[in-house]
């Protein structure tokens, strides 16, 4: 069923504003039809994932738009790419592919996108306001925008993101609309110790479990103390968007559309209620590891890109100690966050500790890690989920504390005590 279009959309489809607007409007309109949208809406911002090189097709698409003179009409940020422009010495990939990646990045800058190169655009100084209609790509950014900021975006993919940015239009469907934002699944916690819920590591594990439980439904999590931090909500959302297709979650007392359980359900009865136990969480944690070998070679933190506060926490955990000689320790972050880290005087302390900062890209798909034998360790459920497939390595998931202590010892150690039953 074709969406109802406004005169300006029809004019663009007819080519009145040139071939780039014509193609971008056609893609948005075809997508709207595929989604069952009745009309298009105006958006006020976009975040582009199409700048990550996945082969010739993405470059061909960007070339077509840029050659035809496409310009974004709303403020638009760029996701990670395949290259660390600030630290080119990290590159281990194929030079031809690196050139294509660079070319792709340039084409999006030419179209007027901001070269932010981060998967965590919600950590930039300016970010979407509550209720703003936006078109974001990158699964972790999408779930954060909807859940934590209360901005409204669907789960946009590559191609759609830039076409929405060029047209300033998006299909009126899914999470743009009130009726799809209310929770349909209630998640309750039973027998989970207060001590575990106070630990950072609880949140990515709960997120990993959540993705498998709810698929792409909107869940509401009940039973946690209010005011859960953005870093924790970020880790939870990123995990749930990796193991499942969660585009939005509510957490009672912590996310803006869930001051109460009733508010999150918007007066409806839940379709499903699920109780999560300590054993469920242990299972979810175990599924994030692919090996039991303690032969540690690499630690990767910062997926999604670490925030200033997460890096501050890392500096504190390192406490002036240095990682073991046989261990490569990476932290991925955005260039804006790195700038702030430098201003705070942490960059030198991290370098002295043997930590390598990676910007503009991420270690879970870019060939930065040299030694892929032995075990890699991460505090990110998303990294743990994707890196074995992308890079062909074995992973152990642990808390940030586990990662730091393991790196210093040079072998995997984990604090198992926090996972015990109450």
């Amino acid at each position: 069923m074709a969406p109802r279009l406004e005169a300006r959309d029809e004019a663009r489809l007819a080519g009145a504003e040139g071939p780039a607007q014509q193609m971008a409007t056609r893609v948005v309109t075809r997508l709207a039809a595929a989604m069952g949208a009745e009309e298009l809406i105006d958006i006020t911002g976009a975040h582009i994932d199409s700048c990550l090189y996945h082969g010739q097709a993405v470059l061909d698409f960007a070339d077509r738009l840029a050659d035809d003179g496409a310009r974004v009409v709303v403020p638009t940020t760029l996701n990670v790419s395949s290259l660390d422009l600030l630290h080119p010495e990290h590159a281990r990939g194929d030079p031809g592919e690196a050139r294509a990646s660079r070319r792709l990045m340039e084409r999006f800058e030419e179209m007027g996108c901001r070269p932010t190169w981060t998967c965590a655009p919600y950590q930039l100084e300016v970010r979407p306001q509550f209720g703003e209609q936006i078109a974001w790509a990158e699964s972790n950014a999408i779930v954060f925008a909807n859940s934590v900021l209360g901005a409204r975006t669907n789960r946009y993919g590559d191609f759609a993101d830039i076409c929405c940015a060029v047209t300033g239009r998006a299909p009126a469907a899914g999470l743009h609309l009130d009726e799809h934002r209310r929770a349909t699944v209630v998640i309750r916690l039973d027998g989970v110790s207060a001590g575990l819920m106070e630990r950072d590591v609880f949140y990515p594990v709960l997120g990993g479990l959540l993705g498998g439980l709810v698929g792409k439904a909107v869940p509401v999590i009940s039973g946690l103390a209010p005011g859960v931090s953005e870093d924790r909500l970020k880790a939870l959302g990123a995990a749930s968007a990796s193991t499942g297709s969660v585009g939005m979650f509510h957490m009672v007392g912590s996310t803006p559309e869930a001051p109460t359980l009733e508010a999150a359900l918007a007066g409806h009865r839940p379709v499903e209620e699920v109780t999560v136990t300590a054993a469920d969480l242990r299972g979810a944690r175990d599924r994030l590891s692919t090996t039991t070998s303690d032969d540690l070679r690499t630690v990767s933190l910062g997926t999604p890109h670490y925030s200033v506060s997460e890096i501050g926490r890392l500096v504190e955990l390192l406490g002036g100690r240095r990682v073991g000689d046989g261990v490569a320790f990476f932290v991925s972050t955005g260039r804006d966050v790195l700038h702030e880290v430098e201003l705070r005087g942490w960059a030198g302390r991290l370098a002295d500790a043997g930590v390598t900062m990676v910007t503009d890209t991420c270690t879970y798909f870019t060939p930065i890690i040299q030694d892929r034998t032995g075990t890699s360790m991460t505090d990110s459920a998303k990294w743990a989920y994707y890196a074995p497939g992308n890079l062909g390595l074995e992973v152990v998931f642990g808390s940030t504390e586990d990662c730091v202590e393991s790196a210093i010892l040079g072998r995997v150690v984990r604090d198992e005590g926090i996972w015990a039953d109450v």
Binding site: D49, G55, A57, D158, F159, S242, G244
Partner: protein
């Protein structure tokens, strides 16, 4: 939640012929499929190692990263994409990869949402044809005629 409206629901129209590859669990193309051969590389997927190229891919819905659209488009360009994708729910990340391939290369990979019963009836390995209107025909088992 399955599709409530009329089915088959054509997300991207086209014709295709091939053997069904029925996935037990939803698949993320990004991080889950490589495009040189069209092989499933998601080590946690029960059908890791299977080749999706040229198959009529039947799965309930897609999963995971929004980069999936790029991987699908790249696979269509490289000739390693499924011949068609049949789902039980709408999935705009998958549809978009197919729309982009049509826009830049004029190569069509049909994407169709089927009624749950029709979706469930498609057995792994069955040879089927997809019509432009999204109808799925299973040839007669004895004669091979549609």
């Amino acid at each position: 939640m399955s599709e409530a409206g009329p089915t088959p629901l054509v997300l991207v129209a086209g014709t295709a012929i091939g053997k069904v590859l029925r996935l037990d669990e939803p698949l993320s193309f990004w991080g889950g499929v490589e495009t040189l051969q069209g092989r499933i590389i998601d080590q946690r997927h029960p059908q890791v190692g299977e080749i999706v190229a040229g198959r009529i891919l039947v799965m309930p819905f897609g999963r995971g990263s929004s980069s999936g659209s790029s991987v699908i488009c790249e696979a269509v360009r490289a000739g390693t994409a499924p011949a068609a994708i049949l789902m039980a729910e709408r999935d705009d990340i998958i549809a978009l990869g197919a729309i982009a391939a049509d826009e830049i290369y004029g190569l069509v990979m049909p994407v169709v949402v089927l009624a749950p019963d029709d979706h469930d009836a498609l057995l792994d390995g069955a040879a089927v044809t997809i019509g432009i209107d999204g109808t799925v025909s299973v040839p007669d088992r004895d004669t091979g005629i549609v």
